[in-house]
Amino acid sequence: MADFAQTLMTALAIGSLYALIALGYTMVYGILKFINFAHSDIVVLGAWVSYTLANKILPMLGLNPHNPETAPPLWVGALILLSAMVACGLLGFAIERLAYKPLRRAPRLNVLITAIGVSLLLQNIGQLNYVFGASPQKMPALMPNIDLLRLSLPSGDGYRDVVIGLVDVMIFATSAVLMLVLEYLVFRTKLGTAMRAVSFSTDNASLMGIPVDRVVSFTFVLGSSLAAAAGFLYVMKYPGLNQPAHSIWVLLGLKAFVAAVIGGIGNVRGAVLGGFVIAFVEQFGAFYISSNYRDVYVFALLIIILLVRPTGLLGSPVREKV
């Protein structure tokens, strides 16, 4: 019981991170029909920008960034989160303008390979000594390390604690707010309508007077700032910050991509659903079956979904034109 509840809590926190990242993949795919492989590197950048800012801001407040006991007031965390989102949003804008826009009419494969190139470029620039360096760092705590809830539940032959930390709740709450904002933006505003129109048909949208380039740019900014938020929340939960080119980041991005595909790529709500589904499969599989195959469960699920429902859980079936 306690173990089940604990696993559930972890799955919810991790699921919201996957969902945030998956949203970026799915939005870009929905509009440009290509997979932005550089997206996971934006997450990394969001995490490292947060780390750099925290190390600048905390000493200004007279706090020691290396002492986990002293947590700054909550507005510091919020400020860092917003700055990281703005920085990554700008970067997303720049990447789209410089790398992808010139290829708008090029074959899909060219764009895909450019995306891989951008990804490698970002990873390796990040590794440079005067950027972030190639060593892992420890993220300073920006929230007090409190347990909101510590329940003793029966488990097996004894009682064990279920711990819900402030960090987990913050991750879940921040992600939920961001996802609701996105939902509103996409389905209730004019800009959202324009995005959906471009996603439906770029040519027709531009004939209707929709500024396609601006909509595409906006999509990248939106996706990138969500990725930055995910990066920030990720290092809040896991303060051991891996170097920018560590393969673990690629795996994180890949899982979020799988989440987008499972949910139905191009579908915003599907990405959120997919994020939670793979987090549950991963966490419960690791706990109840074996942790050796943690990643296998995720990718096995992908294969099953692709076989049974190729368009994903919420994806609409593709109508073949006759």
């Binding site: 290396h66 494969l109 060219n110 390979i113 190639a134 170097q243 706990f287 942790s291």
Partner: protein, 397 residues
């Protein structure tokens, strides 16, 4: 007749869309040859070191490199080897097996080094060793403990103990030592690291032989960030001790998450824990945990204290076990070079194999017939985020 042009047209289109892929493959496949920085001068001997100067195990490479440089400085100040000065070329492998292979290839083929020192991580030594063996360049790993490393061939040596010994030391300490007296152990292994897997197997064997029970075996992958599934399972199995044969960055993160889940069980590990960063990452989360190592800076032996004095004068920090092994590895190499009749790989390897009772910082070192070192291990306890000496365990004669 109509179809021909269209077929060739298809081919062209197919090739056109594949061209970028080919270019990408070419980009990955090509290693850009470096400038021959090792253009050997008649009056010097060039040796190479490949190590993780950056990455998750950065202190491993940095400490080892510091130890080697100290040994070279002393040697050159004392006149070098038969009048020739020794020069070191160090390449960073970033803790990545592919980079390690590239670094060693560059050292032996382009820089034409006389001998290679490195690596700390067994997985990376295993990547570099076959290249040294093929090219007939002797390689000494200062601190790779996986038995497979020296089995690559007769050019590959090491100056540290191996995992069957280290695993049994940990098992004995867990089972019999008065600090733990554990009868139930849980294991958490890095399944992507040959070091971790090897040490885990040896520990398990020895612990079960001593009448202990393994409650659960969990795995992770180096660099993982979330260990809650594994730790929840370990918590449920109620062990007396958790054996984690991993590297320090992961171990620090594991300890933090374990304490957060309310696991107060002591943890036990091997020499992969040995880094000043361990305490920095984990803080007090590891207090009361133990690990086996090659040496302790609290060893009162004058040889050890003398080394620590020299090291801290040069680098302003206390040397860890890997810095001591780097120093010993380099000095054993220099001794063999002095005795050797030529600096060819075969002659040098023959002399290295004859190393007996070398008085190293990490104990008396003799190279056995399998090119491994036979020597004692120490157990350390983490107190206030710093290792302190508990006991020395001698190898079985």
């Amino acid at each position: 007749m109509h179809c021909r042009p269209s077929v060739s047209g298809h081919r062209l289109a197919g090739f056109g869309s594949f061209l970028p892929v080919l270019m990408l493959v070419a980009l990955f496949g090509l290693t850009i040859p470096g400038c021959p920085s090792g253009a050997s001068n008649k009056n010097e001997i060039v040796i190479g070191h490949f190590g993780s100067m950056s990455g998750s195990e950065a202190t491993f490479g940095q400490s080892t490199d510091n130890g080697i440089k100290l040994a070279i400085e002393e040697l050159n100040a004392a006149g070098g080897i038969n009048g020739k000065k020794v020069r070191l070329i160090t390449y960073d492998d970033k803790g990545d097996a592919r980079e390690a292979g590239n670094a060693v290839t560059r050292l032996v083929t382009s820089d034409k080094v006389t001998a290679v020192l490195g690596e700390v991580a067994s997985g990376l030594s295993l990547a570099g060793a076959p290249i040294c063996q093929e090219n007939g360049v002797p390689m000494i790993s200062p601190s790779s403990t996986n038995p497979k490393v020296t089995k690559i061939g007769d050019m590959i040596f090491r100056v540290c103990f191996i995992d069957p010994f280290q695993g049994s030391v940990c098992a004995k300490f867990a089972r019999r030592g008065e600090e733990l007296h554990a009868s139930k152990a849980a294991i958490l292994t890095d399944q992507a690291s040959p070091y971790s897997v090897g040490l885990q197997e040896e520990f398990e064997k020895a612990f079960v032989d001593l009448g202990g029970i393994i409650t659960t075996k969990q795995t992770y992958q180096g660099g993982d960030q979330d260990y809650s599934a594994q730790l929840t399972a370990i918590r449920g199995s109620e062990p007396d001790v958790i054996f984690i044969p991993g590297y320090y960055t992961d171990v620090g993160n594991i300890a933090l998450q374990a304490r957060k889940l309310g696991i107060q069980t002591p943890m036990l590990g091997g020499d992969g824990w040995d880094s000043s960063k361990l305490g920095e990452v984990a803080g007090k989360a590891l207090d009361g945990c133990f690990y086996s190592n090659h040496y302790s800076h609290e060893d009162p032996n004058p040889r050890v204290q003398d080394y620590i004095k020299k090291y801290s004068a040069k680098y302003k920090s206390t040397p860890d076990g890997l810095a001591a092994l780097g120093y010993d590895a380099a000095r054993i190499l220099f001794e063999a070079m002095k005795r050797s009749k030529s600096l060819s790989g075969a002659d040098l390897a023959a002399e290295l194999a004859k190393t007996k009772d070398f008085d190293g910082v990490t104990g008396k070192i003799s190279i056995d017939k399998n090119r491994n070192a036979v020597k004692p291990a120490v157990m350390l306890e983490m107190k206030n985020g710093k290792p302190s000496f508990v006991s020395t365990i001698q190898p079985d004669k």
